[in-house]
Amino acid sequence: MILLQIIVNGLLLGGIYALISIGLTLIFGVVRVINFAHGEFLMLSMYVAYFSYFFLGLNPYLSLIINVPLMFVLGVATDQLIIRPLRNAPSYMQIFATVGLSIVLLNSALFFFTGDYQSINMPFAKKTLVLGGIALSYSRLVIFFSALLVSIGLFLFLQKTDMGKQIRAIAQDRMAAQLMGINLNRVYMVTFGIGSALVAIAGGLIMPVYYVFPSVGVYFVLTAFVVVVLGGMGNMVGALIGGIIIGVTDSLSGYYIDPSLKEVVYFIIFLIVLLVKPSGLMGMVGAEEMGMK
């Protein structure tokens, strides 16, 4: 029974990882930039949820109305102000720039919000649903099903809408898509915005469960990198499955090995994936060979 409970906990945790990773993998797959500031975007959106609750009394689920557009704008601004001038620079320059942004955001938060841990006291977050002896936290269930919904929504958006089709076209072949009249810059901008808006959903939803503090994003983003590589870079479904696998791994190794070593376990998984199947579980075979320029 304990094992089952651990696996269920892992699945729910996986929903959180998946939700955070989907935006990262979308941005990587299309814009071909690893946004090292992704974790800080998460941290900021958690603070937005926290302050909306603190000052306006808004439920964090409700404050997504503010949170999502704000993060969309932040994503667009990042793309236009930092990534756009570096579009044709070597990829390590872009990585550098986002690392710089991550340092700025993290320490600005430290400067303005101090390093104190903050949380929201929501009665709902403490309630659990007991099903056949397995305890399920409502707020974590919300996150898990939101991750599924977001994935489905994103999938439909990419399949059905004009913008979605343009994004997929650019992801497959920049040159050919541009020759078909697709505005590369606009697609990148929107994609960066959407990827960041997705992390805002994650930030708002996990606020009832987690403490927020300036370096909270660092922990999540490293996990998200593992998830993204495991699932296959740029693959949305992969991020979902990868997130759940890492969630369960996290939960199991936390119980059976040691809570402080669970990251070590999935960093080892990360290296094994690189060795055995670098394209990831769902990634295109050979994608890693094409070179991400």
Partner: protein, 609 residues
Amino acid sequence: MPHLPYRSLGRPEVYVPCALLAAAILVVLLTENSFYLNLYFMIFIFAGLSGAWNIIGGFGGQLSLGHSAFFGLGAYTSALLFVKFGIPPLLGIFASIAVALVLAAVIGFPCFRLKGPFFTLATIAIAEALQLLAVYFRGITDGSEGLSIPYKPSLLNLAFESKTNYAVVAFCFMLLVLAISRWIQRSQLGYQLVALRDDDQAAESLGISTTRAKITAFLVSGALTALGASLFAQYVLFLEPHSAFSLNISVNLALISMVGGLGTVIGPALGSFLLIPLQELLRGWIGGAYQGLYFVIYGLALIGVVMFMPHGITAFFTNRYLRLISWLPTFAVKDAAVECSSAPARAVVPATSPEPARMPTSSAIPVIEAENISKRFGGVQALFEIGFSVQQRQIFGIIGPNGAGKSTLFNILSAVFPQDQGTVRFMGRDISEITRPYLVCRMGIGRTFQLVKPFENITVLENVMVGAFCRGNNRAAAMSLALDVLDFVGMTEKKDLPGNVLTLADKKRLEVARALATGPNVLLLDEVMAGLTPKEVNEAIDLIKRIRDCGITVIIVEHVMQAVMSLSDRVMVIAEGLKVMEGPPQEVIKDERVIRAYLGEGYELTATG
């Protein structure tokens, strides 16, 4: 060639750097203020550490953001050996280096086969994992409380009573890194790294094992980082996992190198001389009072450097420095005037034309023989059961409409990707199982690319030298061979131009020169005339004939019919992956199937009707 350093001391490009370094050490020796001595130590140690990072990050263009793994591991190894087993750090540093080499191999082998950001992510992950392990195994490392190293001054312990000695040790470390960097830059490895940083595929085609070059650079880089970290540990006498393995250290090494100038020998040292004092000052002013503000400025600086001065301050100083050098006099130190690094070696190499590596004497065996080559990409049958053979000293033309599979065929011959079925024989030997382009090049099959891929950030001469190193030449021999090849293709006067300013015709010629320098028996030329003016086409035809006259077999893929027909001994026509025919040019040009393949059925109707 023996090259005694004191002889060249009279030259300004040697005595100016020596004088600067001497001045630096003199300043250190004359300083007594411990604040400044501390600053000097930090400058020198970070100059060395950044220089170590620069070997893989700058020369090789592989962005590591996990060098703190080497830093932490190196520092902890020597410190723990000292604390737990009493092994003096002067010996312990060798253990640190050994551990770093193992770590570099563990990260390098899985990651360097891949392109993209995998390497960067893996380095970060390793550093994080090591940090967690260092905290977890507190029985060994004292965990988060930190490890205190006892202070027992002696040279063996790398601990001293005077801070001056520490600064001198750090200075020596910096000198070591500078010397190794300079040696690498001028060695075969340096040229290989610059080439693969610009274009991995082109580098492979010139006989460079890019994986091996990257791993070698990474091993050197990691070992030097660990060495510097051990020295650092003996200075601060305290280690703590969260700072020793922190991402900040890794980012700082990269930032210093970038501010100074990525991929230059002196850049990281310059960056350290500029940034370390700034960082120490800033930290002093605002570090304690306003939490986070220091790193906000730091992050902004990082973004600013990337966006506004990606080439660093070295780029700004280089020309001024060279001008200064050219003004300074050369002093005669013994027979310095006679000293010249390249002239004597040149005579060793035949001065006329590039000789192929192994000249075959028996002419019965075809040089290249392909049988039943098929290749499928998803739903597209790119090639189907293609077979042909090329005799020695022939020029063999391959023509066909766009999408016929010509470039695919070249990519199979040069092992860019494997065929699905069929065999390729080179000089009678089956090479179907060879899967790496650099091995094919070393066997004697050189090639050019349809989309030109010159290395853009180095000169024409250096481009050709990259190829010339393929035959195990030293630098002088490679340079003289490259000069001969440039003379042969008629680009001598352009040898000092960077690769990115050339015209298309010159870029294509440079590719031919680069491939020739690898000493091939067979040269695969992929559309070297596309986009050239008629005059340039004639020059290219002339060049290809002269290449053939040197005894090199040439296979050309070309759309310029005039060229193919006048050059080729035999021509093969392929269309939609199928071989249409093969024969002498006169027959091919009249063949109905060929005309149909090129112009379609409609042409036949109007022609006959």
